[in-house]
Amino acid sequence: MNRTSVPGIHLAGVEKAFATPDGPLLALQRTDLQVRPGEFLALVGPSGCGKTTLLRMIGGLTEPTAGRVLIAERSLWAAGRRDSEAIRELAVVFQDANLFPWFSVEDNIALPLRLRGVPKPERLQKSRSLCELVGIGGFERLWPRQLSGGMRQRAAIARALSYDPHILLMDEPFGALDAITRDQLNLELQRIWLAQGCTIVFVTHSIAEAVFLGDRVLLLSPRPGKIDTEVEVPFPRPRKTSIQAFPEFQQLVQRLRDRLEAIT
């Protein structure tokens, strides 16, 4: 995949208000955003600032109450229905791996291909090579419940990559993992992204994780949710865990942390 051949994302005046018993709740106020083709965009912010809402609107899981989401210049929503061409470009990794317990690991990873009518031998072959890619080779035949949390999340990433999506949306995918596993998966995600060249929108509540992974970091603020700060992250790729000790890295993290404290 060529980095410039993948689609970007364009949000034009996107807004989401939820109906609640106490009247409408503005989860995200009118937002304009361009995600460049092949970019790794990190969204960070305190809990309840609308990160998930924003990501779910890009993923076609929540319909905006105003504005438009454009994927490869196609509108994701038209007359209350998802555009199936636009949705084919997308894959989502959630905080929970959301593997189906009744399928083996390899069948879980092959599920998207099964739904697309890819014959069984072909999709299982793809599933096995993806297991190697995400580092769970040899565990293909197990049930998901037999995997550790980190391995389940690797399998969820493999499932998302199975149909070569051009856009990968990730909602705190490593949020429930321990720090060591998390560092490891961050490195591997970067490696996979560099190899695949897809556009990634990555939600996290960890500023360090956002700065480590992102080409650009957006800080969101709550009540109502909106984009507060935007920073470009200049460090070259591939980044090593050791860059977190660099003064430039720490200054950037500190700047965002100060701002985060100011808005919460």
């Binding site: 959630f94 929970d96 959301n98 189906f100 317990p101 009744w102 099964r114 049930w143 037999q146 550790s148």
Partner: protein, 264 residues
């Protein structure tokens, strides 16, 4: 290393049975109760041997088994079919719920003569009673199963743009299967009760009829023997559904407790 649990059930269960029979024997011997009211265990044993040696017993047992299985089969079809529809259509569930509950709270045994009037003294009326008794737990459990599909799993299918049928086959059906099978475990027992009650109240075949006929001939020992036979049949059918569970939901907690998580 963990100690292997001692399989206590293999010792306690036979011990309890022996204890029960001993208590029964002693009670009959010491209390002086008439053997027409409670026959001693040895007399029941002789009747049982007698019963099993009679050619017509097998025919009666077969008829009861047939009514039970056919009734259970219809209960499964109606329960799973209607349950799926109701689980997916909230307004229909609300509209039909009072009627479904009515079929359960109405004293069904009082209706058996009516069923016999409608469907005759043959096996059909018993099959109907078995179906009516057995379908309810299967229905309610199917509705519950379909409605409790995990929302994260639903999101996965939405992102993959799955069609209604695909969603049903790969998500809703397997996800509700543990609940459906739990309903079937109750259902099979109720189906036997339905068939036997039907035979009690009308007709001239089946183990239920045999039990009443024995009593009418003052052969209380024989009646006990018939009940033991019925219990054995019920046990076997219950185990059969258990085996079905192992076959259909090997991934589920209720079956898979022996599966160990792997490290990593």
């Amino acid at each position: 290393m963990k100690r292997r649990p001692i399989p206590t059930a293999w010792i306690t269960t036979p011990a309890l049975i022996v204890l029960f029979i001993a208590a029964w024997h002693l009670y009959v011997a010491w209390s002086g109760v008439s053997k027409f009211i409670i026959p001693p265990p040895l007399a029941v044993w002789e009747s049982l041997v007698d019963l099993l040696g009679t050619a017509s017993t097998l025919r009666h047992a077969w008829i009861t088994l047939y009514e039970t299985l056919v009734g259970f089969f219809f209960a499964c079809i109606i329960g799973v079919g209607l349950g799926t529809v109701l689980g997916k259509t909230a307004w229909l569930e609300q509209a039909l719920n009072p009627f479904i509950i009515a079929t359960q709270v109405v004293p069904k045994v009082a209706l058996v003569p009516l069923f016999i009037l409608w469907f005759g003294f043959g096996t059909e009326s018993k099959i109907v009673v078995a179906t009516v008794l057995a379908f309810f737990p299967i229905l309610t459990n199917t509705v519950l199963g379909i409605k409790s599909v995990d929302s994260g799993h639903n999101d996965v299918m939405t992102v993959l743009n799955a069609g209604r049928w695909q969603r049903f086959i790969t998500l809703e059906l397997p996800s509700s299967l543990p609940a459906v099978l739990a309903g079937m475990e109750v259902g099979i027992v109720l189906a036997i009760i339905g068939a036997v009650v039907g035979e009690y109240l009308g007709g001239s075949t089946g183990l239920g009829h045999l039990a009443v006929a024995s009593l009418n001939d003052y052969k209380v020992g024989m009646m006990f023997a018939v009940i033991i036979l019925l219990t054995a049949m019920g046990f076997l059918l219950y185990l059969l559904v258990g085996a079905l569970k192992k076959l259909l939901i090997p991934w589920h907690d209720s079956v898979a407790s022996k599966i160990r998580p792997v490290a990593g």
